[in-house]
């Protein structure tokens, strides 16, 4: 007897208080009533899924906390649609209106995990081909496919023909070659690479490194190995020489840029994500308990 009223809810809830809802969207209302039994469960489940993704993201950041040039990512969440159970402004009585209505939210979704391009710490390596960009720029790397990839990881070496290459063996663009006999390699803050040959005092210029900048670096596509590719969202690469006024940055020789992951911050995020997951799982349990009590009303 009691259960009938509970499930349909019509007999006491759409009476005098909500005439507008009954006439305008009677069918929709019925559908919502049916779904209502599982709304809390699905909201909590969406929260658990979102936190799971948050933890996946934190795990990747922590795994890369020692990766040179790695930029951390941060998950961003959004609330989902709202079901309007009572329309705001509907008639509450002969002369009163419902002021705000009743809206029930349906949970959360992960909107994006954006790349945080904050500068990482520098560590001194003493290797003359290690470089750090102090600013927003990216090194240009030519991939074997002919595409240009962009990277913040500035630990370079020489290959068998003397070209400056990254740890994957892909050449830095524009290509700069250093002869095998070169003694001291110097890279100026404006990217000019010079060297001296044995028995000579004057330095010779091998080339100038140019850097790329993007309108919206957060829109770049990560393809692994510290490489980024441009997308429609990031805009095309804007090429410039280091040290200019356009914010592209300057080059510092003999250092590498560490990952910008803050292990302490990530652990704090991990704790809060884990607790949020737990809280959502408690809601699942509570909803389950309550529905089980409803099922036990009739004997």
């Amino acid at each position: 007897m009691a259960l009938v009223v509970f499930v349909t809810g019509e007999s006491f809830c759409t009476g005098r208080i909500r005439p507008a809802a009954k006439t305008a969207s009677a069918t929709k209302q019925k559908q919502e009533e049916r779904k209502e039994m599982i709304r809390a469960l699905y909201s909590a489940a969406s929260g658990m899924t979102a936190q799971q993704l948050n933890i996946d993201n934190i795990a990747n950041n922590l795994a890369n906390s020692n990766t040179v040039g790695y930029k951390s990512r941060r998950a961003q969440f959004q609330d989902l649609m709202y079901q309007t159970t009572v329309q705001p402004g509907s008639q509450a009585g002969a002369s009163t209106l419902v002021p705000t209505g009743l809206q029930l939210g349906l949970g959360v979704r992960t909107a994006s995990n954006e790349i945080i391009f904050a500068q990482g710490d520098f560590s001194s390596t003493g290797n003359p081909l290690d470089m750090v960009i102090q600013g927003r720029g990216f090194f240009q790397i030519k991939l074997p496919t002919g595409e240009t990839a962009y990277s913040r990881a500035g630990s370079f070496q020489l290959d068998s023909t003397g070209n400056i290459v990254d740890p994957n063996g892909n050449p830095l663009q524009p290509q700069i070659a250093i002869p095998a006999a070169a003694q001291a390699i110097t890279i100026a803050t404006d990217g000019t690479v010079s060297f001296t040959l044995p028995g000579q005092n004057a330095a010779q210029t091998a080339g100038q490194i140019s850097l790329a900048n993007f309108q919206n670096p957060a829109g770049l596509n990560s393809i692994g190995q510290s490489y980024y590719l441009p997308t429609d969202a990031s805009g095309a690469a804007l090429i410039g020489v280091p040290g200019g006024t356009d914010g592209i940055g300057t080059i510092l020789q003999g250092y590498v840029e560490q990952s910008n992951v803050s292990v302490v911050d990530e652990f704090i995020n991990l704790i809060s994500a884990q607790r949020a997951y737990e809280a959502n799982s408690k809601v699942v349990k509570a909803a389950d308990d309550m529905y089980s009590q409803v099922n036990n009303l009739t004997r």
Partner: protein, 244 residues
């Protein structure tokens, strides 16, 4: 149906709606700029309440008739991202979405491919008086507390900050609020902070306490309903027993 069962059923239904609201709040405990929803209990008075004053037996039922959004300040976290903004105090950022102007507390902005400041979904952030904010590529952005953005010391635009009365906004998802018909935007008094994001204002500890309260109240109401059923059973089976 008797009065005990009806009241209890109404109470159970109201607690379930409370649970649904709480579930949504907890699901959004990490959503930047999210504002918690709270239920607003009211009492439904039966049609016969005024008709029969002598008995004093007025039938009233608890009901979640409306909700209110807790617009209190969430914690500000430091992100060091120059395009993250948080409002300290009242006010909302205005975003020109395809569906019209929407308002949000989530200041996780970025620069679009054409150089305009956009929200996370790519919709342009509205400048004071309308229109987008055009930025120069690669030049550091500085934000003054009143929402004026500067590049190389030159102002490039000012964010529109609007405040609304409590209860005059609806949530539409994706962290957006939309003002109800006739709601007027007021001058916001909050200040904009750069490199920070506002966290959700859902208190996890407080929500856990409310979760326990809702469950226990639900249990009590279920017991009350069983008592009502038991009384009915006795009335039917024992009071009206015809003894031979």
């Amino acid at each position: 149906m008797d009065a005990i069962s009806t009241s209890a059923a109404s109470g159970m239904r109201a607690r379930m709606e409370s649970l649904e609201m709480l579930a949504n709040n907890l699901a959004n405990v990490e959503t930047g700029g999210f504002k918690a929803d709270r239920e607003f209990f009211s009492i439904y008075t039966g049609d016969d309440a005024s008709a029969d004053p002598q008995t004093g037996d007025i039938q009233t039922l608890p009901l979640v008739e409306t909700h209110w959004t807790d617009l209190s300040q969430g914690n500000l976290i430091n992100t060091a991202n120059p395009l993250d903004f948080a409002i300290d105090g009242d006010g909302l950022f205005a975003i020109d979405t395809q569906g019209g102007v929407r308002y949000t507390r989530n200041g996780n902005f970025r620069i679009g491919p054409t150089g305009i400041l956009t929200a996370a979904d790519g919709s342009p952030v509205r400048a004071l008086g309308g229109g987008p904010i055009q930025l120069q590529p690669g030049i550091a952005v500085e934000m003054l507390p009143d929402g004026t953005m500067q590049q190389s010391g030159q102002p490039v635009g000012q964010l529109e900050l609007s405040a609304f009365d409590r209860g005059s906004m609806d949530k539409i998802g994706a962290n957006y609020f939309v003002p109800l018909d006739g709601a007027k935007a007021k001058q916001a008094t909050g200040v904009v902070q750069q490199g920070k994001l506002e966290q959700s204002n859902v208190g996890a500890a407080e929500s856990s306490v409310r979760l326990v309260a809702i469950m226990r109240q639900f249990e009590m109401l279920q017991k009350a309903m069983n008592i009502g059923n038991e009384l009915n059973r006795k009335a039917i089976e024992e009071v009206a027993r015809v003894t031979t």
